[in-house]
Symmetry: C2
Subunit: 123 residues, 2 copies
């Protein structure tokens, strides 16, 4: 599909789709006329990117982990070419994500506790 349809189906402005490509997060092909052509899977890819950006990750971090985020099942980057360094990097990313989760969960709990304490019988 072309950029307009992808934008329309994901709700992401074309400006950003081009930006994500510039940031190496998307890799559409080009038709003979120079138009970008996206595969069907790009819709999910874009939603994935949006979710991660909204969650506070930078494009740099997303670029680093995106290749390893294929759905459960097929290993997209083959196991053979994963060096120990890569594995360590990935592990670092996982830990950074985890600490974000911990922080958010802790504060979500505090907010919930406050709300529960203030309004014990919500109805």
């Amino acid at each position: 599909m072309r950029i307009g349809e992808l934008s329309h189906r994901t709700g992401v402005p074309t400006r950003l789709l081009r930006y994500y490509e510039e940031q190496d997060l998307l890799h559409p092909e080009r038709g003979d006329n120079g138009y970008r052509r996206y595969p069907e899977s790009a819709v999910a890819d874009v939603q994935q990117i949006r979710g991660l950006l909204d969650s506070g990750l930078t494009t740099e971090m997303i670029r680093a982990i995106l290749p390893y985020l294929a759905g459960p099942g097929e290993l997209h980057p083959p196991a053979e070419c994963v060096t120990p360094e890569t594995a360590a990097l990935l592990h670092g990313h996982i830990e950074r994500i985890q600490s974000r989760i911990d922080c958010l969960a802790r504060n979500r709990d505090r907010l919930s506790a406050y709300l529960a304490a203030v309004r014990p019988h919500p109805r």
Copy 2:
């Protein structure tokens, strides 16, 4: 304590401590000489703010929820003055935080799964 000590104890540059004040996240008193004076609790406050910023929240969102994040025990903003509108706003914030957590957790799981699949016997 003054801003220098707070900066030194939290690792946050004075520039940011002043910025957080400008953003209404910190409220130090002022001495006769115009110097900011922070209570001991500011150390924890600053760490809280940093954690939330690092987790992708904006100062605006932090400003909205910060009053309700006192430790478990005392209700800092008294229950009486919590209107249903405020409660609804808080609930919205909780949901936004939750969706971030969900997104991050989902991707953490994918990364972990990939790592586990690639290196079944890590030692």
